[in-house]
Amino acid sequence: MTEARSNIAPVLRYAAMRRIRSFEERVGELFLRGQSAGSMLHLSIGEEAVVGMTDAMAPGDTFTTHHRGHGVFLARGADPARMMAEIAGKESGYCRGKGGSMHIADRALGHLGANAIVGGGIPHVVGAGLTYRNRRSGQISVAFFGDGAMSQGILYESMNMAALWHLPVIFCCINNQYGMGTRVDRSAGKLGFGGRAEAFGLIAAHAEGQEVEAVHHAARDLVAAARDGRPGFLEIDAYRFYGHARMDKSPYRSPEEEAEGRARDPLTTARARLAAEGLADAADLDRIDAAAAVEMDAALEADVAAAPPGLPTMFQDVYAPGTPAPRPQADRLRAVLSEAPR
């Protein structure tokens, strides 16, 4: 890596974080306008430092996310307009309006799928790791999930396999301190999740979620090790700025706690650091912010007003094209009632 690149990289990471923040603010707007498909929208505001991890990945690396995965996908190169269209349930969305916010995927960008089953996507990176190991492809696969998934047995089965088989895999826990209304100290008998990963033989790291550069530093080492068949675990210590989903006003936590949590803002921290290190001044950063706003405004308007997918599309993609599709109910009823003799 050249000096120039290493100097510009933190600025780019700031820009990536700002794009996430801007995008998520507009997802909130989409909901308020009544244009989102449902209300199960989980914003990743406060968790933007995940960019430190995504930025350590290479083109061709793959990943899975949990239900709060907009930020990860954007940072891995998603087109915000197609994401917004998917969240609105439109045919032009990444999954043709079938999946929505909780099920965005894009094979071309290595996104093997967002998941609405807590922990559901974690073992898929183990399988991806087998593919990359057997094919000697040099790729890695990263599972992104929340602190809530630390209570799912499948995580531990997956970590054990990754360590046992020396897979090119990273488990990335975005600890935003809450699973719905349950603060992490009310769901874990012992905190400090890295210790669990170490117990399985993984390399564990921990980074403060308001410090994207610290996240990135830890992530780079883990990625290098994972490519070498030494799987890792990264805990990013963040704060969920808003409610669990759009309807949740978080009555289970105090305004003081929220204020404290929101003060751990990775964007504010990055701005201060970039200015202090002379990598960017306030005017530069404001320009980045403005560009993100323009881009995300356009994404919000692009496709959300488009027509919904046509009804016959519901039968597509249950099975592969060219193989027998599910029989629409109307066909069955017609066969019984119109074709049968009286």
Binding site: A37, G38, S39, M40, G89, K90, G97, K98, G99, G100, S101, M102, H103, N115, A116, I117, V118, G119, G120, G148, A149, S151, Q152, G153, G179, M180, G181, T182, R186, S187, A188, Y252, P308, P309, L311, T313, M314, F315, V318, P326, R327, P328, Q329, A330, L333, R334, V336, L337, S338, A340, R342
Partner: protein, 331 residues
């Protein structure tokens, strides 16, 4: 008799039962401080304390498994599965442990627990949060299965479930929580395990349960305006299920339409249709018909979601088709 909601009726049933039976505990995700993902257990942790209303980590297999163990040893747990879609995670504890203990162990060890959960469409919650998986449960010997479709049943069937000696799966519908209706805590609509004629009619029998009961009743009104009288039977309990009233009705009307929200292939509707076909063959004027969800995962786009599930209009059109052989426009 007071007017209340389906949600409140379930909450009231839990309160009344917990006040009567100190062994009842609630165990599940967000059942305490948060008050339940759909607000059903709001305030219960304040009334009964954290030893009886237990907020569990997101560990569904262990939640259900712990409920099995608690039931084996004397408590009467109500485990909550936030969405029936998470049944995939707990099927071992449910189908291999809870369901089979009494039998495998020669009748010694019963598992008197209730698994409360909710399912169904209506909120654009997509493929992993909208399913109707009751057939998975009905297929397993050893499990009881209840799916209330009215406010009074929501209360009484839960109270009754909490007196059963064996595991009961109690499936609510997310689209019914705001349904209003009369609750009489002293008088159940019908006994446990007995279906109920919710509307009388001579031209066909509609057999249904849960949210589709409400859609079927609305369809019956529309049909009446067209001169067709539908008898609507609410199955209420799918196991145990006393078929007497079902067979009597179909033998009278000669036509049966079974309506479910679940993907129709391998569904509860298929099972009911088979039983009716076996028992009423000589009385039937027409084939027994199933109307259900399309055989697809639930799509997120609201129009697709709605279009994949029966509603009152579709039920009425199908019923007319069955009774008069008047094909609807979409046929």
């Amino acid at each position: 008799m007071t007017e209340t909601t389906y949600r409140e009726a379930i909450r009231q049933a839990l309160i009344d039962a917990m006040q009567t039976d100190p062994d009842i505990i609630l165990l599940g995700e967000e059942v305490g401080l948060y008050g339940g993902a759909y607000g059903v257990t709001k305030g219960l942790i304040d009334m009964f304390g954290a030893e009886r209303v237990i907020d569990a980590p997101i560990s569904e297999p262990a939640i259900v498994g712990a409920a099995v163990g608690a039931a084996m040893t004397g408590l009467r747990p109500v485990a909550e599965l936030m969405y029936v879609d998470f049944a995939g995670l707990v099927m071992d504890q449910l189908a291999n442990q809870a369901a089979k203990s009494r039998y495998m162990f020669g009748g010694q060890i019963g598992v008197p627990m209730v698994l409360r959960t909710q399912g169904g469409t209506g909120r654009s919650a997509a493929a992993q949060h909208s399913q109707s998986l009751e057939a998975w449960v009905m297929h397993v010997p050893g499990l009881r299965l209840v799916m209330p479709g009215t406010v009074n049943d929501a209360y009484h069937l839960l109270r009754a479930a909490l007196t059963q000696p064996d595991p009961v799966v109690f499936i609510e519908h997310k689209g019914l929580y705001t349904l209003k209706g009369d609750l009489d805590p002293a008088v159940p609509d019908a006994p446990w395990g007995v279906p109920l004629v919710r509307r009388e009619g001579a031209d066909l029998t509609i057999l249904t349960y849960s949210r589709m009961l409400q859609e079927s009743l609305a369809a019956a009104e529309a049909l009446a305006a067209r001169g067709v009288e539908a008898e609507v039977i609410d199955l209420r309990c799918l196991n145990p299920l006393d078929e007497t009233a079902i067979f009597a009705s179909v033998r009278r009307t000669g036509r049966a339409l079974v309506v479910t929200e679940a993907a129709v292939t391998g569904s509860v509707a298929s099972e009911i249709a088979a039983r009716v076909g076996e028992a009423c063959f000589d009385w039937l004027e027409e084939p027994v018909l199933r109307l259900g969800g399309e055989d697809i995962p639930i799509p997120v786009a609201p129009a697709l979601e709605r279009g994949s599930i029966p509603d009152a209009a579709l039920i009425a059109e199908t019923a007319l088709w069955l009774v008069r052989r008047e094909a609807p426009a979409w046929a």
